[in-house]
Amino acid sequence: MVRFVLNGKDMQIDAPPDRRVVDLLREDLGLTGTKEGCGAGECGACTVLVDGETRLSCLMLAVQLEGRQVTTIEGLQRETGAGLHPVQEAFVEYGAVQCGFCTPGMALSAVRIIRRNPDPTRAEIREGLSGNLCRCTGYVKIVEAVEAAAWKMSNKPPEKPAKDAAP
């Protein structure tokens, strides 16, 4: 039995400990937004956030999720309350999506870049995305989208409930 939080929901899953996380998500839980492009940790299509860090779900086993907070692309909208996350919005608006197969992993990597550095340079964005392969876009519009999302997020931070405000 593996216990973890998936997209804000408590999960208790009876999965073999050596079940790959990507299979657990896609096949067992039907969360097919997480993609698999190589199965060897080289393409980044299977990227998910584990405790806020980007992780490759094709290289993780179910047992490694014990006690963790996992966010998949399906859970990204939740983080902003309603509608698309600013990163998702920017991907749509700036044309960062073509075939879209790298998009979920790419978007999650973008979220982490901005969380770590709210005002990244283009070079920092390129560095931060370099673990996610995209064969369609040439990355230009993806970089533009991440830049735009970062700008939007730092200028208009989502409203926080008062109790979360700094003392």
């Binding site: 999506v97 879209g100 979920p104 995209c134």
Partner: protein
């Protein structure tokens, strides 16, 4: 959803982007029907040999194995192939490359499947093998197919090339080699299929050609094409690699033996490398001459394309290579000869730039070398010889349609990156050298003569008052679905909330050919225009009936309604929608792309697909910086000027240019399927390097808008042309920077460094 009209000419964000960015979009890979079986192929692992025995007793006995199938279980011809049916579904007697499938296993899960495949023992007696196309043409070369190793040989002659060389002031002779390139779409080949109780095979598959797939499967397995239904959702990339059967025939065979259970086949990355199609490796012998006044005068070239073990579209790929061998220039005398040859290498096939990528490398480098010999500016030399409408191209075909290489070159010449290049080159840091390189390229659109490039489009007015477009051509990521919605929105004057698009399904949509050849939006778009115009006329007519108007004139289809302009009275679309009977809800349009009327004699060489009459054009400029210590090339700036008629969606246009350039940069700098005796040494992304976000600069895309009157709203396809220029542009920039002449791609740091060291 925003109430904005979907119209042609606007940078409308992709209509599928939202579902893709939230993970909701279901690709073929995302289908896991209940109770499914997994199918997998046992691969030969021998480049050329005779199968003596396939022992699968241990695999069959493994708990969880549902069936093990071999050649004898294949009904029908067991042969697949788009033009030449020479590729077995399951090899029975011979294997011709390492990736040939020899057995198919159906298992309850992937773990059992992998174990079962490892338990199959295949005894193959190795036969002498050949891995080079020129070697394979020698009389004593091992024979790979019964009819020999020559898939196609053709010759294009115009004027008198041999004599013309004596009239040239300068002549350049050079040999170029370009390697095999892998598509590397992130969604590998996959699908699910099942057999319905009535015997019908239903398949959801990642494919560029759903309608053709039915015939491929039917021919190979002895089935009725009408008993096969293909559904093709959005693809996770394809670039030509999913044009033709990949999993389709194996999956249909599995479904025939699965007792109604759904079967899923999904090639792992390494299997995709081993068994998938690739860009053909090519060796190109060039000799070109120009007169003292700077006009191109003669061209002679000999092209060898490595088809690998099977034909796929090898002959047609070579044909496009030959057709583009002279570049977008006027050359009075040409002598172009090509051979597409079987070897025991992996299978060559369609890939963005379809044979043109390779010759563009050769021809554009030759142009630079001729310009240097003549002491001319490379851009002016190109402009002077650039094709214009009314000219004959290098095959002798008269260009009667839009021909925009001159405006591309002129726009490039005016651009700050061109005028500022010398200044940029001077500011290189220590141990760095900078250079700028240029390339002018073109790419044919459509299937060419002999294979009707046709499409049938259907639009339906639903009972809910929405317009449903039944697309017959898949969207592999190039954005044609959004272009179709814009075309429909433009004619029907509706916003996105009233428009929807059904992805290809051979049971619901109408035949529209493949998503390929730069023809997807051109051909289907033209058919869709007809369907939408008919729909518009129909609704105006029905509204006239409702309003009891004396005549149909004066009616306009507007967002959500039809208005009688003279009286100002409206009929709501919702009302009309409830009124119309089922039989009155659809309109269908069909078109065939025009073909060339002057057809040069190529001997008996080309059967189909030659010549073409429509071309898109591009002129590219690359800024590169070379590290003198490591030889590593970095592309620092990149300008792509493209002519593709009118632009339906500027954002989609740029996306295609960026993507094509990035693939071209990869092909120039790092991509090569490394082969040793037919074995792929780098069948994964750790060893086969793809450009990452750190390898591609901020590409600047400029559109030179002309108009192609036969195209939908004046457009031509531009998805491929951009892939052809980066290799020569980067090679030119390297020569500009360090004087090293690169004639073999990719231009890896090691290769550049060793050439630098050889240079005195």
């Amino acid at each position: 959803m925003k109430k904005e009209l979907l119209e042609v000419g606007y940078a409308v964000p992709r209509q599928d982007a939202r579902a893709k960015v939230t993970g909701e979009e279901k690709y073929a890979l995302d289908h896991y029907p209940e109770n499914l079986l997994w199918a997998g192929a046992k691969r030969a692992g021998v480049a050329h040999g005779r199968i003596l025995e396939i022992d699968f007793a241990a695999a069959e006995a493994l708990p969880g194995v549902f069936a093990v199938l071999t050649r004898k279980d294949v009904p029908g011809t067991n042969r697949q192939g788009i033009v030449h049916k020479d590729q077995p579904v399951l090899a029975g007697e011979r294997v011709r490359h390492r990736g040939d499938p020899v057995a198919l296993v159906l298992a309850e899960n992937r773990e059992v499947l992998a174990q079962a495949l490892s338990l199959i023992r295949v005894e193959i007696e190795p036969l002498p093998a050949v891995f080079d196309p020129e070697e394979a043409l020698k009389p004593d070369a091992p024979r790979i197919h019964e009819r020999g190793n020559l898939l196609l040989h053709a010759k294009i002659e115009k004027g008198k090339a041999e004599e013309a060389f004596s009239e040239c002031a300068v002549v350049v002779v050079e040999t170029f080699e370009a390697p095999c390139q892998e598509h590397c779409f992130l969604e590998t080949e996959n699908g699910v299929a099942w057999q319905e109780p009535d015997g019908k095979i239903v398949m959801i598959v990642s494919t560029q050609a759903p309608f053709r797939d039915r015939f491929e499967i039917a021919h190979a397995l002895g089935l009725e094409a009408g008993s096969i239904r293909i559904i093709s959702p959005y693809l996770g990339g394809a670039f030509g690699g999913k044009d033709g059967a990949t999993v389709q025939c194996l999956l249909a065979l599995a479904a025939l033996h699965a007792q109604g259970r759904p079967v899923k086949m999904w090639w792992e990355r390494e299997e995709s490398f081993a068994a998938g199609y690739k860009r053909h490796a090519a060796r190109m012998y060039y000799r070109a001459g120009a007169r003292a006044d700077g006009t191109l005068h003669a061209l002679q070239c000999r092209l060898y394309y490595d088809s690998g073990a099977y034909a796929h579209l090898g002959g047609e790929v070579l044909e496009l290579g030959m057709e583009h061998a002279g570049g977008p220039y006027r050359i009075p005398h040409t002598d172009i000869e090509g051979w597409c040859v079987y070897t025991n290498n992996p299978i060559g096939g369609a890939m963005r730039g379809f044979g043109v990528c390779q010759v563009s490398f050769a021809f554009e480098r030759v142009m630079d070398l001729l310009a240097a010999k003549l002491g001319l500016d490379p851009l002016d030399f190109r402009l002077k010889n650039a094709l214009q409408r009314g000219d004959r191209n290098c095959t002798g075909v008269t260009l009667v349609h839009s021909t925009g290489i001159v405006p591309c070159l002129e726009a490039l010449k005016r651009h700050a990156l061109w005028t500022g290049r010398e200044k940029w080159k001077l500011s290189a840091g220590p141990f760095k050298k900078r250079g700028a390189g240029l390339a002018a390229v073109f790419n044919a659109m459509g299937y060419g003569r002999g294979l009707p490039d046709s499409a049938v489009a259907k639009v339906e007015f639903t009972p809910e008052g929405r317009f449903r477009i039944y697309s017959g051509v898949p969207d592999m990521g190039q954005g044609n679905a959004t272009a179709f919605l814009q075309i429909a929105g433009e004619i029907l004057c509706q916003d996105a909330s009233r428009l929807e698009l059904i992805q290809p399904d051979t049971e619901r949509c109408l035949p529209a050919g493949s998503s390929s050849a730069g023809r997807t939006t051109y051909t289907f778009g033209n058919a869709l225009i007809r369907a939408c115009r008919e729909m518009k006329a129909k609704l105006c007519h029905r509204a006239a009936l409702v309003l009891m108007a004396d005549e149909e004139r004066g009616f306009a289809l507007l967002p959500g309604k039809v208005r009688h302009l003279p009286s100002g009275r409206d009929v709501d679309l919702d009302f009309l929608a409830r009124l119309l009977p089922e039989a009155d809800r659809s309109s269908v349009g069909q078109t065939v792309m025009p073909v060339s009327q002057d057809v040069p004699d190529t001997g008996k060489g080309f059967i189909i697909g030659f010549p073409h009459v429509f071309f898109s054009y591009a002129a590219h400029l690359a800024y590169v910086e070379i590290d003198e210590l490591t030889g590593k090339i970095e592309v620092r700036e990149y300008l792509a000027v493209t002519e593709g008629g009118r632009v339906i969606n500027p954002q989609g246009f740029e996306q295609q240019v960026h993507g094509a350039v990035a693939q071209g940069i990869g092909y120039a700098l790092m991509e090569q399927v490394a082969l040793d005796q037919g074995q792929i040494l780098n069948p994964n992304f750790a060893d086969y390097l793809l450009p990452t976000s750190l390898d591609v600069p901020d590409i600047v895309s400029v559109s030179v808008e002309t108009v192609e009157p036969t195209g939908p709203f004046g457009m031509k396809g531009i998805g491929e042309v951009g892939a052809n220029a980066p290799v020569p542009a980067i090679a030119g920039a390297v020569e500009d920077a360090i004087g090293v002449r690169l004639t073999r791609s990719p231009f890896t740091g090691g290769r550049v460094l060793s050439m630098l060291e050889e240079t005195p």
